[in-house]
């Protein structure tokens, strides 16, 4: 257990010291959420209707933009070599790295969602359900994006390629998330079904992605 905690602590410390990608993620999220409403126009009634979707897309794009470095630094400096061959279980190391990323980038974004929601004129009674749904879908977001990060490991400027590769995989999650929020608004029982499906999607991503990422990273090192 100490081995895996060491990886989480180290990655958090690096994120704290080299805060570029956290600041970039935060800035990107803020810019999208601030700029997009301007594009919608002056009709104040439209914004609350499209705002949950806007938040969702901003969250998703921020994840894709910031995750490209998840494995790259360890690959470039040789840390990956000893982690692959060591006695520690590589798949758990991957989970730890993704979890550290989630703590350093995703969680702060979730924390600022209430402020963003107020900026977007989202009704107060909708803010908690939005946070809850983004929170339960965030593991799926980051683990699927982590697969993209592993796939584009040896490439320069991999951010755009990750977006192209991974974005289609997010479509079911986006549909479920938006439908969960809409159903919550109109009080339909299928809200709980959507929540269960999103939770299932997240758990499946946590269970399968580490094996897929491990396979990709091992073949990359060979």
């Amino acid at each position: 257990m100490g081995t895996y905690l060491a990886i989480i602590k180290r990655d958090l410390l690096i994120s704290y010291k080299d805060g570029d990608h956290i600041a970039m993620g935060f800035g990107f999220f803020l810019v999208i959420v601030s700029i997009l409403p301007i594009g919608i126009g002056s009709d104040i009634d439209i914004l609350p209707k499209v705002a949950p979707g806007l938040l969702w897309i901003a969250f998703l794009l921020t994840t894709l933009l910031t995750i490209s470095r998840l494995f790259k630094d360890d690959y470039i400096d040789g840390t990956m070599d000893f982690m692959i061959t060591d006695s520690a279980i590589f798949e758990i190391i991957i989970i730890c790295k993704v979890f550290a990323y989630w703590l350093s980038v995703t969680l702060p974004l979730i924390i600022v969602i209430p402020i963003m929601s107020i900026l977007l004129n989202i009704p107060m009674d909708l803010i908690l359900p939005i946070i809850f749904i983004i929170f339960i879908s965030s593991p799926a977001f980051v683990f699927i994006a982590a697969v993209g990060s592993a796939l584009t490991l040896g490439m320069e400027r991999s951010g755009i390629l990750i977006t192209i590769l991974i974005l289609p995989l997010y479509i079911p999650l986006i549909i479920l998330g938006i439908s969960a929020i809409s159903n919550n608004v109109i009080g339909v029982n299928s809200y709980s079904v959507s929540v269960m499906l999103i939770s299932g999607f997240s758990m499946l991503s946590i269970a399968l992605s580490p094996f897929l990422i491990s396979l990709i990273l091992r073949s990359n090192s060979c």
Binding site: I7, R10, L13, I14, I76, D77, G78, D81, S87, C222
Partner: protein, 196 residues
């Protein structure tokens, strides 16, 4: 205890490196690999460490009781990539490995390698030689059975080379296994020279 390399054929990308390479590594007999640049020294070590798939051939390990066992988790490979984090300080890198391997670092070793006074310095500000010493600390800390050291003396000053050589000798005298690639005049008792 024996590591047997049998008819190894290695290529890097499309480049042929060598084939039909067979030798064995055993206790108290370190192997020193020499060869020109690009002859496949690093690839040989990476292949033994499980980081490079050979085109053909086998690598097998027999433990003290002559049983064939998996050896990859017993290896510690130190290559050209130093596996240290430039964003962190010397002490933070060492603390990470200590936690990772669940081992305490020997403070005397840091003093001998002149790293003790650099503990609060960011690794990005160190010279290559200092980074190399820090990188080797990981190998010494992990205390694995098989050391695969790729050019361990590169960048080290003469005093540090003596310290590292003594640590390698200690490893050999404990009956553990080691393969070293080098261009320097590194010599150990009972060493076997392998030219590529």
């Amino acid at each position: 205890m024996k590591l047997i390399i049998d008819n190894l054929h290695l290529e890097r990308g499309d480049k042929f490196l060598f084939k039909n390479l067979s030798f064995f590594l055993e206790s108290y007999k370190p192997i020193i690999v020499r060869g020109s640049n690009g002859s496949g020294k690093t690839s040989l070590l990476r292949s033994i460490a499980g980081l490079l798939k050979p085109v053909s051939g086998n690598i097998s390990f027999f433990n003290e009781t002559d049983e064939k066992t998996d050896y990859l988790h017993q290896c510690n490979y130190s290559g050209h990539k130093l596996a240290i984090k430039n964003e962190l300080t010397v002490q933070e890198n060492i603390t990470f490995w200590g936690r990772y391997y669940k081992k305490e670092i020997n403070k005397d070793l840091l003093i001998k390698l002149k790293l003790d006074s650099l503990s609060d310095i960011s690794v990005g500000l160190l010279s290559y030689g200092q980074m190399k010493k820090l990188s080797l600390i990981r190998v010494f800390l992990a205390e694995r059975l098989i050391w695969l050291l790729d050019e361990p003396m590169v960048g080290l000053d003469s005093e540090s080379q003596i310290v590292v050589k003594k640590l390698i000798e200690k490893h050999i005298n404990l009956g553990k296994l080691i393969i070293i690639t080098t261009h320097t005049d590194l010599k150990f008792g009972n060493q076997i020279l392998l030219s590529l």
